[in-house]
Amino acid sequence: MGLKDDIERYREVGENRREDLAEFIQYGDLGQSRPDEVRIPIKIVDLPSFEYDQRDMGGVGQGDAEEGEPVDAQPEPGDGDEDGEPGEEGGEHEYYEMDPEEFAEELDEELGLDLEPKGKKVIEETEGDFTDITRSGPTSTLDFERLFKEGLKRKLAMDFDDDYVREALKIDGWGPAKVFEWARGENIPVSRAWIEDAYSDIPSDEKTTWASFEEMEANVERSTTAQRIRREGVEEIPFRREDERYRYPEIEEEREKNVVVVNIRDVSGSMRQKKRELVERTFTPLDWYLQGKYDNAEFVYIAHDADAWEVERDDFFGIRSGGGTRISSAYELAAAILEEEYPWSEWNRYVFAAGDSENSSNDTEENVIPLMEQMPANLHAYVETQPSGNAINATHAEEVERHFREAGNVAVAYVSAPDDVTDAIYEILSTEDEE
């Protein structure tokens, strides 16, 4: 036991072992995210207790206020004081925030996905990074760092302990020829001319300072290049024309990773509150995920009963109408919109539909399936939300699943409780057609 075990138990709350607590799980509102930042509600399990009616209780706020003014910050249920932990602060967050890229990474990691977005549309030939190099070019593109480094290398290669060589010239009996020969043997990069010059500069009484090489070696300390540079600094770097390099940009053909996601939802009378919420819980993370994966994501929202119409996202999850259901109406509209605005040659397409599987008779077989077959897309998915068991005439999901069993780009997922959402998302995102 221990904390790991407690975490495991918490994950299991609401699932098989502790279904009894399922009704006490609260998830925050999913609609609070912005395009650049997704807000993920934290699963909170709130055991019941004797509490006041939240509305009847009212509350206290701080700040400038006029009698009768509306108060924005409504009290959040369940943010009461727990256990009086000293570290806890007022106004708890019910969310944690991340940007869509992070979200996609997390999900990849969590679910073991490896969706590689494909670049489709060549937007332009751009100049990439200045990574290619040439031997000539405008001064402003000169790679000075390289020039400096090469010069320094050269300097180090040419450097030698001149004091030490000079001392060698002071050995009794050693002349320039002898010293040059010795230096060569020692791999000291010194020229004959330098030795000749140095020898002539040494006063004649010093030319016999050391009786032998051994005596000189015992008395004079030899220094390494590094020591000398540290001591004297780099006085002069030998820049050479042959070390000059000029950078120029790589020409890149950039393919933008475009994606269009079509969200289709049944808004007919049979889609009650619970089912609507399940759709939102499934679609929203899918949207976030694809948004995080692609450079450019666009979304199309289609609501339908017996007819279909395009709506804004803000309205999408809330709409409810009374009419019957004809799923093909939505696919007809989706096909028209995709054809017009999102050609397959330039766009990755994801078409997600959700509903309770109810459809008007034969519509699935006669209309929807052919429409899906004719509509090229990376992925078609149908999410069946059926929180209250199966209804008899709800066979859309089954029919689609049966027909497309062999196809690699059609996924069908069933969601009957919030806890099925993760599995559904995995089911959908791991179904990617290899082209």
């Binding site: 036991m1 918490y10 934290i42 909170i44 509490e51 939240q54 009212g58 108060v71 000293p86 925030e97």
Partner: protein
């Protein structure tokens, strides 16, 4: 843990050794009396674990710790970590410092912790559980015992988990104002049949005839009805958990009836009840305790330069985040109230001194007194306000504000006066150095004293003419009265009494508090009042009884059928009925037989709502007595006549802050 980690932990501990020691010295100088504190350096993961476990290292297995950990971790990861202080109520207290905190944060945490430890040690509500709680050991014992139950092959682990959940639903239904008393594990439910009396009569050796005539069945029944055994408890019992522990049974699914609780069930119930009593003092002193810690932390860190100049920026930033977080915030309410207590006490004392001056009365106080002059006089003396190595000669060892011995050592160079100037002062000196009324933010406070307060002060004074001049009176002024009073209050109050006593109109105006209510007409929340009585009412509602409705056991033999009747003591705010039902299901599990809850619901007549809406007014609720019953299978709700619930309604309290004229 790798050796590098250990090495770093060790290094951090060394780095903080002096800080910890000096923080404790400073706290003592300021008149605080904390439990000794053991500090532990922990890493990020350990910190999250401690937070999840409510500040301890070992708790019984339960999913909610996992939930807290998950939340803590995700928020830490994605919302940016912040410096947490964790200190637990124990003697010695244990506090935890996260290794990755900046030095400024560590110092802030340490000063904050010292003040909490003082509060734990001195607030008498903490004494209700135990003078020496020995909490870590108790919680570890509980953890081990419950783990054992879970591993017992005779007991299904998930049964234990469910049982814990049932009990946790009622963890706030204890009598937090009384000392904790363990329910005697051997006590049995009282006999509610007539067996005992029968037996006694048998011992009298009466003939069956006499017995039948005199002590007939009717008489016997009357005896038991009047006697304590038939309806119990005699007085409504707020410790619902304790009552269930003593008289409750479990519901046995197989036999379909109540059976005795298993030993492990009784033990788990009692352990969670004991923990509830242990944590209760922290819950009922949250505003006070957090305010207290923030007050002293800020004084030590900012005013006494415990934070270096460059650390101060980090600290100020941290502080503004903590106190400035939006909405209602117990930290800032607490610190504001403590400052208000300090200021009013200092002001009362100064006013008293001034009223003793010849010619000054409460009537002419404001016209006669030059407040600027008074404040200039009260300003801490230069030698006390600015202490440094070069200014030591200005301090007189004979002065009661000066710690003569420390001064001596400072002269000898043993004390680093540059870093710790406060060391050469006494408590009295410190009180003057940090005198509240002359601080820039409170300079107007003295002037704002009202006529009525002055009148009140003067009414309780006897020798009201002792000084010839203002200067003379102020020379006798004591600087310590504010802190002295604060310490008295931290000893005896809890949040409710604290708010009740110190939340004045002046305070509400100064700090911009307001109340809001839900409006049926507009389906939103609206500001209803800035009157301090209203603000106080709402705050009291939020902090009385953990902010929850009061539920008491009314009858353990309801309807003479061993059923349980709970009463909701109605204060004008109705129950969350849905949650109450969910909770009743749990109560059933702990009682084993049908359970009932008597409450008063507020209902709105549709017609009234409509009329009110059209007039842009609020409808008035109809209060209706109601009995909610649960028999293990289903719920039933019965309307009760007002006479049956009249005793539940507290007539003198009204938590509604909506202005009269808003009502339809």
């Amino acid at each position: 843990m790798t050796t590098t980690d250990e090495f770093e932990m060790h290094r951090e501990a060394e780095r903080l050794e002096e800080v910890v020691e000096e923080a404790s010295n400073l706290a003592e100088k300021l008149g605080l009396d904390p439990y000794p504190v053991n500090y532990w350096i922990v890493d990020y993961d350990e910190m999250n674990e401690l937070i999840a476990y409510g500040g301890f290292q070992q708790r019984y297995p339960h999913w909610r710790w996992g939930m807290k950990y998950d939340r803590q971790q995700k928020q830490g990861q994605f919302l940016g970590g912040k410096a947490f202080e964790i200190v637990n109520n124990d003697n010695p207290s244990h506090a935890f410092l996260q290794i990755s905190n900046s030095l400024a944060d560590q110092k802030a945490v340490i000063t904050h912790v010292e003040a909490h430890a003082d509060f734990f040690n001195n607030n008498e509500w903490f004494g209700l559980f135990a003078d020496n709680p020995d909490a870590a050991a108790m919680l570890a014992r509980h953890a081990e015992a419950i783990e054992e139950f879970m591993q017992d092959p005779e007991v299904d682990r998930s049964d234990v988990e469910r049982w814990i959940d049932h009990v946790l639903c009622l963890e706030d239904n204890i009598d937090q104002h009384s000392p904790y008393e363990a329910i005697d594990p051997d006590s049995d439910a009282p006999d509610i049949d007539t067996g005992e009396l029968d037996e006694e009569l048998g011992e009298l050796e009466l003939s069956e005839e006499v017995r039948q005539q005199v002590f007939d069945d009717e008489w016997l029944e009357a005896q038991t009805e009047d006697g304590e055994a038939a309806t119990f408890p005699a007085d409504p019992e707020p410790d619902v958990l304790g009552f269930l522990r003593e008289y409750g049974k479990q519901y046995d699914d197989e036999s379909g009836k109540a059976t005795e609780m298993a030993d492990w069930q009784k033990d788990v119930l009692e352990m969670i009840r004991r923990e509830a009593y242990y944590f209760a003092p922290q819950k009922i002193t949250k505003i006070m305790n957090e305010g207290w810690a923030s007050y002293w932390e800020s004084l030590m860190m900012a005013d006494e330069n415990f934070a270096d100049a460059d650390e101060f920026i980090t600290y100020a930033d941290h502080m503004s985040q903590v106190l400035g977080s939006p909405g209602f915030n117990p930290y800032s309410l607490g610190i504001e109230l403590w400052e208000y207590v300090e200021n009013t006490e200092n002001r009362r004392h100064v006013a008293e001194q001034l009223l003793r001056v010849e010619g000054i009365t409460w009537r002419n106080f404001h016209e006669t007194i030059d407040f600027e002059d008074v404040l200039a006089t009260l300003e801490p003396d230069e030698e006390i306000a600015n202490i440094g190595p070069d200014a030591l000669d200005r301090l007189d060892p004979e002065d009661s504000r000066v710690d003569a011995e420390a001064l001596e050592r400072a002269h000898d160079g043993e004390i680093d006066v540059e870093t710790y100037p406060w060391k050469v002062l006494t408590y009295e000196g410190m009180a003057q150095r940090h005198y509240s009324l002359t601080k820039p933010q409170f300079r107007g406070f003295l002037t704002r004293i009202s006529q009525s307060e002055l009148e009140r002060v003067s009414r309780y004074m006897f020798d009201d003419a002792r000084y010839d001049s203002v200067a003379e009176a102020l020379a006798d002024a004591e600087y310590t009265v504010g802190w002295d009073r604060m310490r008295e209050i931290r000893e005896s109050h809890n949040d409710v009494t604290f708010l009740d006593e110190f939340l004045t109109q002046e305070f509400v105006d100064d700090n911009d508090y307001f109340t809001y209510e839900y409006m049926r007409s507009s389906d939103d929340y609206r500001v209803t009042s800035t009157d301090h009585e209203d603000v106080k009412k709402k705050l009291m509602l939020q902090f009385t009884n953990f902010g929850k409705p009061t539920i008491v056991v009314a009858d353990g033999n309801y309807d003479n059928r061993n059923e349980l009747l709970l009463d909701h003591k109605f204060n004008g705010i109705m129950l969350d009925i849905e949650q109450a039902k969910d909770t009743l299901e749990r109560v059933f599990e702990l009682w084993g037989r049908p359970v009932h809850l008597r409450t008063i619901a507020k209902e709105y007549d549709e017609h009234d709502v409509e009329v009110a809406r059209r007039r842009d007014r609020e409808p008035e609720a109809i209060e209706q007595g109601r009995l909610i019953s649960y028999d293990g299978m289903e719920f039933s709700e019965t309307d009760l006549d007002w006479s049956e619930v009249e005793h539940l309604a507290a007539s003198e309290i009204d938590y509604d802050t909506k202005p009269e004229e808003w009502l339809a």
